[in-house]
Symmetry: D2
Subunit: 337 residues, 4 copies
């Protein structure tokens, strides 16, 4: 940890802080400069955190050297992690496509969509039973009934199902009915939920929050992994910026950046990442090209009738076309569908 002192800090002030660093068993460093004195503390930065030097009146700035995540870091775990949704791998040589509607609306809609995405070549199914919606007057999902429909359709089609969990109390039910949890952008820092999921053996797709940096996302994953659940898939789904032409700004830079920092698989959601049906296919290809491990994509048997996110859902035939067009990009990236 690097500690920059304020201009008027004296040698005595520095010595006092250096003494505290030494007491914690860390190696202190004194670096006097012309305009500022800089101190260093070598060793476990989580230990020095206890000194709360950032709130010291003579400290101008504290800069950590190490990231605060550890278990999800590639530093300590250089090989890629492969997570399995049922028997579908995410993070290896397959480019995994998880497709389905935003929300489970009915058995008919779910069956029609699942069969369509299966025919198109999807590896897994998505569909929300609990829907976090900005307005209390929007459709809120079918709840447990939706989970049951999802499981049924998953069994019929043989596609493992992913579904969102929004509340600790629902963890057990989702675990029972689905192959994987999805934690949505709005709950990425719902730490109680992350801990609850961390105690489960079921894999989780963790979506990046709208205002979350990649570091925040990795720390959120660290919450889950530090509770014992190592099967975390990260999902880039766009961040909120000043650009309103698209629903979010899909931050594909995050894909190589996460790959450099973490061993966890990363998938991309071009549906929420753009919010515009016509932009889903180009951004899906871009995701494959920049090294993502797969996609989470919204498909609806009849988008015009969708109860949510219809404007970003692909028609079954559009999905089929996307899968066809995607193949050469996936191959160019050294993977297969």
């Amino acid at each position: 940890m690097i500690i920059v002192l304020k201009p008027h800090a004296t040698k005595t002030d520095a010595d006092e802080i250096l003494g505290q660093i030494e007491e914690l068993g860390l190696k202190p460093l004194y670096m006097p400069g012309v305009e500022r004195t800089v101190l260093g503390a070598l060793g476990d930065e989580r230990v020095i955190g206890r000194l709360h030097l950032e709130s010291h009146p003579l400290v101008e700035r504290v800069t950590p050297i190490l990231s605060s995540y550890k278990l999800v870091s590639r530093d300590l775990h250089p090989e890629d992690t492969v997570v399995r949704l049922g028997d579908v791998p995410v993070g290896g040589s397959v480019f995994t496509v998880i497709a389905g509607p935003c929300a489970v609306e009915s058995r008919e809609q779910m069956t029609a969509t699942a069969e369509a995405v299966k025919a198109g070549g999807a590896h897994a199914l998505r569909g929300g039973a609990y829907k976090p919606r900005s307005s209390p007057y929007s459709f809120q999902g079918l709840g447990l009934e939706g989970l049951k429909i999802l499981q049924e359709v998953s069994e019929t089609t043989g596609l493992p199902a992913v579904t969102e969990v929004v509340e600790v109390a629902d963890v057990a039910a989702v675990e029972e009915h689905a192959a994987a949890f999805q934690v949505g952008a709005r709950n990425m820092q719902n730490f109680r939920l992350l801990k609850a999921i961390g105690g489960s053996p079921t894999p989780v797709i963790l979506k990046r929050g709208m205002a979350a940096t990649v570091d925040d996302l990795l720390l959120a994953a660290e919450y889950i992994v530090s509770e014992g659940n190592h099967d975390v898939i990260l999902c880039e789904r766009g961040i909120r910026t000043f650009e309103t032409a698209t629903r979010n700004t899909l931050d594909l830079n995050a894909v190589p950046h996460i790959k450099a920092r973490s061993h966890l698989p990363v998938i991309v959601d071009p549906s929420h990442g753009t919010g515009v049906r016509d932009y889903v296919a180009p951004m899906a290809k871009a995701a494959a090209a920049c090294g993502a491990d797969g996609l989470l994509v919204e498909v609806h048997s009849d988008p015009k009738a969708a109860l949510s996110d219809g404007q970003q859902s692909l028609h079954p035939e559009e999905f089929e076309r996307l899968m066809g067009e995607l193949a050469p990009f996936v191959e160019a990236a050294g993977r297969h569908l």
Copy 2:
């Protein structure tokens, strides 16, 4: 609602949509233009939402005329709402100051801080028992034990206490031990939590999310109010922007904007809004000047030893000085402390 059609949409396409609008009991409007055809639908926009026109392949854009919040809107409720924390009013002629540490750390720390803020002139006490922290390795709060300490200190000092609730399962406990819920920025769109609080008679301070627009904040408040709890205080606490010199960018524009749109009281948190102790006092004065109803401000009996947010917590003597300096600004704003 205004519906802009794509350039190649025909009169027949327009007629089909106008027919659907009419069937819903709304008044349809046809506005052909040189480059685009525009349709209108007059009436309850929540009804026309059912048509999901934004996902129609021939629709370029759907622009609502009305906001989607209703109960929190000033349109339907022109008078200011006054919310009471115990017997402390928020939203009337008093500029209400709620002060205390980020986290309840111990009985001693809480007592010392509460007495200090009371001596300084605070109206109510804050202190977190459940702490949402970015890293799993940071202090997570004392939980129920913290709630009990908070209640005890609240009773001793006579200051009503506000504390954060992060999970539906804790709503009852917080209700029992505190005068008001606080919903933090990270949970602003934890809709299950909002609904649970909506069923409680205890007031709530709802903090704006880091990526939330004012409209998102008002919709989140609508979740609470629509469940029956009308005692919602909104809190501007900074949004996430590209500027990293301060922890967040305090958006004081939001104060007059919320006042124009909603009847709910608005307070400002200059501690999280800046993240820098020295900027808390100037921004507290600015909050009073632009029409806020009060402050939520972090004070710690010994910031150097604080387990969280020490760098933005005021020392007791700094808080006392702030209250003294604040008074003429509050009076200039037509209120009193």
Copy 3:
């Protein structure tokens, strides 16, 4: 144009505005609603702009139906435009790669780099003689001397050269020595510069500003085209967001979005878009995959010695590898290198 009146506006107020709309030769529309009255004006929205209704005290909001750009819009010009840098096309079946150092530093550096990028398969050369730098203490470019070196190396290698122009007074010199202007992000709204370039027959690469929406970018292009210069290539190079892990957030969503709205070619700059050498190749591939017409990429014969942007410049061998890896992605996108 759609004009939403404030709640207390009366029928008389509406009639007065409708009268003004009619006087301008536009078709007025009256749409009274329960909570708000909405007015419409059909016809050329640039004409109604003269009424300045957005500043009318009884007007709540004015929403244009049409975009304010016209000449760059695909509505009026459905076919893709192909711009030629010397004899190198941008915007057709070729995926055009423009490579070279951030700055022209010396004849030796420029020659070595140009030969390297030519060997790697680049179609054109980049290199700045006038460098806009955040700090006055950073290297500011060689100026006219740099332009001459660039031209010389361009002639030797046969690669047309692109170089930045930062000031009206330099337009003639750049025109004389280079095949195309580059307008940098910081000058995207230097409208006097845009107009000066608009009067030139030399093509221009217009980079998106760090805080510019795609609409702002298209309006900036409209400045150039409306002065008579139709040869504008747009360049996505990242926007400024809260994410600081990368220098900018490359907004690849902008590629399909611009393609939908405009007929102008779009290239991507993954060097500035990421600021990190290791992320340039993945994002270059992503650019090809999502439909971009080419790349602007920084290569330096010796990045360790680069006077600017060394951390995002590719080594010659990295560039060669990128070109090899890029080929199958470009082919999958239906183009060739």
Copy 4:
């Protein structure tokens, strides 16, 4: 400067870099850690910039200790600077109000507005002759004719005039006709313009760019001051964020932050900072409360007829009311109008 090496860097790699640091006459520091090796370089960081260590393949991150601005820094110049517009001081005990229309439209409009703001108590006059506008189809200003009108009205009313300069070629004309330059947000990093102004004896109001951090703003000011012009007034006018309810997000945090870092005066533009007439007064008061040295505010004799920015311009009577209401806030801040 702190240099963090990549995990696989060896002692030999570190020694090579330490040798380079020493050769430059700086003091090298070696700090081996468990997970990363950290190097330090003490001395003038502008010198070590020559090593371009951020582009070294074994360097993970370079963190400067010192800011890169020097002349504008409070470190080296602890006393507040007072700049004079004619005989009107900015930065001392007066809270200086500069008011007038967005654009000079005609002698009549300018005279009427100038007399109104003078009657209201303004200290100086604003009005643009060269208008940077997003669309080429919007009013572009009267140019030299506008400058002459401005000067005439300035002389008649005795109010010194501030006007925007957008181009090096206009610097002499603006210098001749106005008391101060204004550099707009879009030109904050037009470095050639900054240098040209730096060579002039005329004061300048430098507005923050929409995507500029406070550090960027201070570096832009450093460009002007390093050329010899010390009379720079900084202006916070809002930044671009995801919040679209207001035209920009006024970042008042920047006021105490700039005051802490720089000796230059800071004024606030609540007109552009909000874009909404009704929010100008509350934010003007907030600016006074948080320590700003003055205001730049748009007033128009007839906002309904304004050729630009009418929706954010105050009516003369609104300006007069603002000045009355502002007085107690200015006094509470220890200044006077």
